[in-house]
């Protein structure tokens, strides 16, 4: 297995320990529930923002804890929603007089765990609300399913809600921000290779040397279709069209544009994709107000990328612009 790992069963607590050792002033670690929180949270003067999901998507979700972002987060095993108890303890640890907003990525496992945890916390009088993020356009939404998946758009929901909470907004107001961002953000991804969950030790799906999976999920779930690999620009065009036509985005829109690496793709390739995406946005009459190129929501070492567009307005631009700090940094 081509991975840096000791005991696969300890992979998640071990990397979490590394994150906290690297950020001793900022973060603290509860190993029993695989939870990382800001040392200075909860703060009763502001809403706590909480998330927790499967591991393997780093820097989402535990590395998004910090001022102006999440107050705390628990991680399940790789690709598995955290156990109910961990979710419950996370809500409890971040309980604030101003309330707790749980940003749940829209997967069955996450939803059920946070539902149960929320019920348990509410029974104890904690003021907690949940919001479901579902920005992936790869598979059509339908009444008969759990609905669309939450993927890289997650970053924007966290960033905006974190800024709103830091600005002292109420739980209902922060919830409204989550709703606005989620209604305005769309993503689609493509994979060139499969990832290898450490506990599994082998790839999660098989893919030919000349194939790509269009619309892949961040857990390696199948997307729209399997196809032969195309030139980078052709791939961007398909992602861009799928995403831009979804709300739809229209000429004159001010947007944030993200190229998110899925883990194994070098940043040079992400900029090849960005160049085309930026060009397409300009041709479509969008103004790219902010851009994001890097890794925000990954799938272990999967080679691949996703493209996200977020429609902006004055409020969202201010929220994205607000200062924030996370465990990931350059300097």
């Amino acid at each position: 297995m081509k991975k840096f790992v000791n005991d696969p069963a300890k992979f998640v607590p071990e990397f979490m320990k590394g994150i906290v050792l690297a950020n001793p002033g900022l973060l603290e670690f509860n190993e029993e529930f695989q939870m990382i929180k800001r040392k200075d949270a909860p703060n009763n003067a502001r809403v706590s923002i909480v998330q927790g999901s499967g591991s393997g998507h780093e820097p989402a979700h535990v590395m998004a804890v910090g001022p102006g972002m999440l107050d705390g987060s628990c991680q399940g095993a790789v690709f598995a929603a955290p156990p109910v108890d961990a979710c419950y303890e996370t809500i409890k640890a971040l309980a604030s007089d101003a309330g707790v907003l749980v940003l749940v990525n829209n997967y069955q496992g996450d939803r059920m765990a946070w539902d149960m945890a929320t019920e348990m916390a509410q029974a104890e009088g904690i003021n907690v609300k949940q919001f479901h993020i579902n920005d992936d356009v790869a598979v059509e939404d339908s009444l008969y399913t759990v609905g669309r998946r939450g993927v890289a758009g997650n970053f924007f929901v966290i960033k905006a809600c974190g800024a709103a909470a830091a600005a002292g907004k109420s739980l209902d107001e922060v919830y409204a921000v989550a709703e606005k961002v989620n209604n305005s953000v769309r993503t689609m991804g493509v994979a060139l290779t499969s990832c290898i969950p450490p506990a599994k030790g082998t790839t999660i799906f098989q893919i030919g040397d000349d194939e790509m999976e269009v619309g892949v999920g961040i857990h390696g779930e199948p997307g729209r279709r399997r196809d032969t690999i195309k030139p980078a620009d052709v791939i961007v065009d398909e992602l861009f069209d799928a995403v831009a036509q979804d709300i739809p985005f229209v000429s004159g829109d001010r947007v944030a544009l993200m190229i998110n690496g899925l883990g194994g793709t070098p940043i040079s390739e992400l900029y090849v994709l960005y160049a085309r995406a930026h060009e397409r946005a300009e041709q479509a009459g969008f103004t790219v107000v902010r851009n994001y190129v890097g890794e925000y929501c990954t799938s272990l070492e999967m080679a691949g990328a996703s493209l996200t567009l977020l429609k902006l307005d004055g409020e969202l631009e201010t929220l994205l612009d607000a200062p924030a700090e996370v465990a990931v940094r350059i300097f």
């Binding site: 069963a9 499967g54 399940g76 095993a77 790789v78 690709f79 598995a80 929603a81 955290p82 156990p83 109910v84 108890d85 961990a86 997967y107 069955q108 496992g109 059920m112 765990a113 539902d115 149960m116 992936d136 598979v139 059509e140 008969y144 399913t145 759990v146 609905g147 669309r148 998946r149 969950p197 506990a199 599994k200 999660i204 799906f205 999920g217 857990h219 390696g220 779930e221 199948p222 997307g223």
Partner: protein, 226 residues
């Protein structure tokens, strides 16, 4: 009337530990076909602890024992399986509170309540291609045996294993409507649901454990690791 002793319930759980641990990678591989490949690991994480702590678990009565199982699942099993299996055990525990043995009717009611709890938790119905598609027919068959007054529990167990196994093929070509597999649309058709397979394999292993002669006939059950 034939009773199911607490020792049998404990033995069934113990056997399930062995089944889940032996099938850890197999279940994950099946989940990888249309899901995210963690089903086996998630279940095994919980059952490994149940297995290790088995001797010291509260065994004052069946309900207390199953409540403890439910709590260990809620604490250690992630993914969809945590809430689903945790809810199932919780419901079964409620109906067996204080009991030291069960009638077939008791057990049937416990499964019925577990099914209701799982439906309430995850919103799935029959035909959504989840483990409910195995549990519901098993429950129906058990109700028939309760009504008929079947005394031989081996016959009931064999019928239950048959129903669960049939569900694998019956749902294979369906498109999943719940769980992660539902989010891949048409792409889930043609793959077996790992939750259904796990129920069929657990029941098959119970047959073996309790001396019920039964030969599996569906590939996923036949091919489980020895």
């Amino acid at each position: 009337m034939t009773e199911i002793s607490q020792a049998t319930v404990e033995q069934a759980v113990k056997t399930t530990c062995a089944t889940v641990l032996r099938n850890e990678f197999y279940f994950s591989d099946l989940d990888g076909l249309a899901g995210d490949g963690d089903f086996g690991t998630s279940l095994a994480t919980g059952y490994r602890i149940i297995d290790a702590e088995f001797d010291s678990l509260d065994k004052s009565n069946i309900g207390a024992f199953l409540l403890k199982i439910s709590m260990l699942v809620s604490k250690h099993v992630g993914g969809s399986s945590g809430p689903i299996w945790g809810t199932g055990f919780m419901r079964a525990a409620m109906l067996s509170k204080g009991k030291e043995s069960l009638t077939l009717a008791d057990l049937t009611d416990m499964l019925g309540s577990a099914i209701e709890g799982i439906q309430a938790r995850g919103g799935a119905k029959l035909g959504d291609k989840t483990l409910l598609d195995a549990l519901i027919p098993v429950h129906e068959k058990m109700k028939e045996h309760v009504a008929a007054g079947t005394a031989d529990l081996g016959v009931v167990l064999k019928d239950a294993a048959d129903e669960a196994e049939k569900a694998i093929d019956a749902t294979r070509t369906l498109v999943a409507h719940r769980g992660r597999a539902s989010q891949v649309g048409e792409r889930s058709s043609g793959t077996p649901d790992p939750g259904i397979v796990s129920i069929a394999i657990i029941l098959q292993d119970w047959c073996k454990q309790f001396g019920v002669d039964r030969t599996p006939s569906v590939a996923e059950v036949i091919n489980q690791p020895a």
